[in-house]
Amino acid sequence: AAFGLYFPRKEYSENVYIDQPAGTPLLRIHALRDSHGEAAHFHLCQNLIISRARSHENHWFQIREKTGLLFLSKTLDREDFNMLSIGNWMSLSKVMLYVFLSSHPFQEKECDSATRTTVFLSLINATAPVCSSLTARQLCFTEMDLSFHIKENKPPGTFHQLRLPSVHHLCQNLSVSYKLLAAEGMPFRYNENTTGVSVTQRLDREERERYELIVKCTVREGFREVQVEVPFLVNVLDEDDSPPFLPNGTDTADAVVEFNRKEGTVLATLTVYDADTTPIYPLESSRKKYTGTIITDDPWISETFRVEHIFDEIHFSPNGSQVRGTRHEYKLVLNKSISVTDHRSFQLDVLVNDTEFHGPERSVMLHFNVSILPVSIQFPNMTYQFSVNRNAERFAQIGKICIENCMKFRGVNITYKLLSPNISCYPVSILQGREDKYGSLYVNDSSVLHRPECKEIQYTIQATDKQSRKHTKTLLTIVLEGILLKKEEDCPDSCAVSKHHAECEECGGLGVLTGRCQWRQGSGKGITTNYSTCTPSIKTCPDGTCDVIESKDPAVCPQDCTSGNIIGGHGKGTGNLGIKSGHGICYCFPKKNCYCEKDDIKEQLCDDVCKTVI
């Protein structure tokens, strides 16, 4: 096996005092093995790293190559201390050392091995404390948590020594003993003679990934006895030792393409589980480790479909304890929009490969039963008939034209067109928004409505699919009804200008259906989407969207379409267009400002800040 020694923790720390004699032991570092027969060799990097990026050659610290004991090789006197502290602006001086690990004796003393751990040494501006001044906590443990990581599937070994070499050296008359609690049945053993803690068997993360034990330390001095307990944690590190598997054995899914034919549509999803963890950081490398490939020779299939892979963490409970695992989802996605005429059925296979797993079952095959159904472009059997009041004004919305299932379509571009009749009565037009799946009929020339000879007008509507040029036709009848009313004088062009119920319903305006504007009475409670306002048609304005007809003229429905100032308490609509919610009555002067205010009481106007504050 390759070089696989590793440190069971990332950081170690200890204090160093001024004038501590050469030979003082500081701390003990352990290494764990990847395979039997490996022997650890420890080595120090020659530079001390002082915080804030300075470094200095190391004259003071050495490590025993075989045992990992770090000790002072030279007394650190006050002069040394001052030199190492320059540039440290925190009151506490810390120096950092890297300890390297190798399975054979170090030849060149260089800092280049990848396996290293960091030792933080706090330089304390005082001489070493006397034993009697130390608390039991200080005699037993350092400030660092007793937290370790052990790789799964590796041989057992000792990974920590509880006794602190520095304290043991300093306080030789003191009896400090340790006990590992809650260790029964756990794969850890404490050796009283060495105070070493070892792992007794190979661990399996998929069985259990965290062990929480307690270390009890007893300090005896004459008849006095003090005990301290601290947690002792072991995390088991994961390696790729589990193959992918299918939940409930499901490896097949149906993927039907019908009305939704747009690029990017997810047709079906199949799930693969893995008991191993998959880090989402860095994302791309994890995606590369777990691949999903479409198996096909057909260039059309590889152009038309792609597989998207997402994964997230889930929990398995193998024996009561929870361990983390991964759910991989493979989504079959349309890579391009499919024509309405396409009609095919086939099975599409996706090979999922756990590339880092070394075993025969590293891959699974997923099957998608793909059916691409053609869709027909046709109108429902009936013909359309709409009646239009003779008093309707320009931009009055009459109705909607829609081919069969038109609202379900995605990725299909249908355009609607009116084929002009060969008579002179021609009051209506059709318009379609950019993403709209339907056509909207509206009054384009209201003077035609006034002409008595125009009564019932027949049109032909044609719907065309842009991509396939397939088209269909149906008949549309417009019946003009009602008696022409006399137009009020002094009425504004736009309903939205009216501020009161009465004046609103006296007048007409652009977009009205029956010659009169409609009043919407709001709830009157604070700033609401249901504000009071005057509108050509309550059905279409204000409904929160500036539709294609409203956007033709700013006077039709400024409540949905204004981009100007709104004075008074209000909330703006999507894309900063229109009044989404208002306070009291909202009225507008097209191309100018809108106002929202309470009619009865003159209240102070409320801007953005007052809305948020009060």
Binding site: A53, M83, W89, D238, D608, V609
Partner: protein, 344 residues
């Protein structure tokens, strides 16, 4: 190498007085020896790690010369003119030397010497009320009122609120980038006696705590469709000089310490609150996770899900926000109007 003579730029106690990096860069550019060494070192650091660099004689020499120049010890100030340029100079040297793989990085900002008590003194002048006096009052509401009475605070606050609550389209509730920028302007340009009162007001009921949580308009500046992994978020933050610096500053000033009474480094609450505030408007924007009045929990918008073998490290990173006694004590001390009494 023997101990060098005391270099210029030290005060009588032997501590260096930091020069800002823009100025230090100018000083260095004026000396041919320094500027050429700086260029050499920058080339050495580009794309190489510390150990390879130290093995190179030329790089080593450049480093030794620069260690005695003002560039090596320069710092930046929060909200200074040319802050970004200053930080770029700072990281051009330190990024390679600290290897960028450290859990905690040293702050490129000057240490904060002012105290919370300075803020309380100022606060009582303009508000005329003792923050601890009325137990029924809503401190967060008072803070909003106080801000509205100050033209600068009101203008920048309404600026960020309207930017952060402007809906762009159904799929895009706001422009996060613009919102973050407006928040940074607010917290950089408005004095902390206003901004801290809004951010760290103490609350006895849920309405108050909800207002406190809403201070930074979290729907735009904080929340997102998905919660990224915290290590991933940290990595994103570290690719940006400003975010990286603010995060390092937070770690320097809010890192829980066992050696002080308050759990804060140097018992300096002001420094911790300042560097917390400095993170708002970046990828690592922190906020209150709920409107609880009893417990204060702060977190950036991330989780440790999907950490793999790095879970321990991820949780350690997250705990510096969620379970940080220094940060919690500092926020509570500000809310109660108490600071640590320091012996002179």
């Amino acid at each position: 190498a023997g101990s060098p003579p005391a270099p210029a730029g030290q005060d009588p106690q032997g501590w260096r007085v930091p020069v800002d990096c823009v100025r230090a860069n100018e000083l260095c550019a004026g000396e041919p020896g320094c500027s050429s060494r700086y260029r050499t070192l920058r080339q050495c650091l580009a794309g190489r790690d510390r150990n390879t660099m130290l093995a190179n004689k030329e790089c080593q020499a450049a480093l030794e010369v620069l260690q005695e120049s003002p560039l090596y010890h320069c710092r930046c100030k929060r909200g200074m003119k040319k802050e970004l340029q200053c930080l770029q100079i700072y990281w051009s040297i330190h990024l390679g030397l600290t290897e960028g793989e450290e859990f905690y990085e040293a702050s490129p900002y000057e240490p904060v010497t002012s105290r919370l008590s300075d803020i309380f003194r100022l606060a009582s002048i303009f508000s005329g009320m003792d923050p601890a006096a009325n137990s029924k009052s809503n401190h967060c509401l008072d803070a909003a009122k106080a801000c509205n009475l100050n033209d600068n605070c009101k203008r920048l606050r309404s600026g960020y609120i309207s930017t952060c609550s402007r809906e762009l389209s159904a799929s895009e509730p706001c422009s996060r980038r613009k919102c973050h920028k407006a928040l940074r302007q607010f917290f950089d340009r408005v004095p902390s006696e206003y901004t801290y009162r809004l951010l760290f007001c103490s609350c006895k009921d849920q309405a108050c705590a909800e207002r406190r949580r809403q201070t930074i308009v979290p729907s735009c500046s904080y929340e997102d469709k998905e919660k990224p992994n915290c290590l991933d978020l940290r990595n994103t933050c570290r690719t940006d000089h400003l975010c990286r610096s603010r995060l390092a500053d937070f770690h320097t000033n809010c890192q829980a310490s066992f050696q002080s009474l308050t759990s804060c480094p140097g018992d300096n609450y002001q420094a911790c609150l300042g560097s917390y505030t400095g993170l708002i408007g970046f990828d690592m924007t922190p906020n209150y996770v709920d409107a609880s009045t009893t417990s204060i929990t702060i977190s950036p918008w991330c989780s440790c899900k999907g950490s793999g073998n790095m879970e321990e490290e991820c949780e350690k990173f997250l705990r510096d926000f969620t379970e940080n006694p220094c940060l919690r004590n500092a926020i509570q001390a500000f809310g109660n109007g108490t600071d640590v009494n320091l012996s002179p």
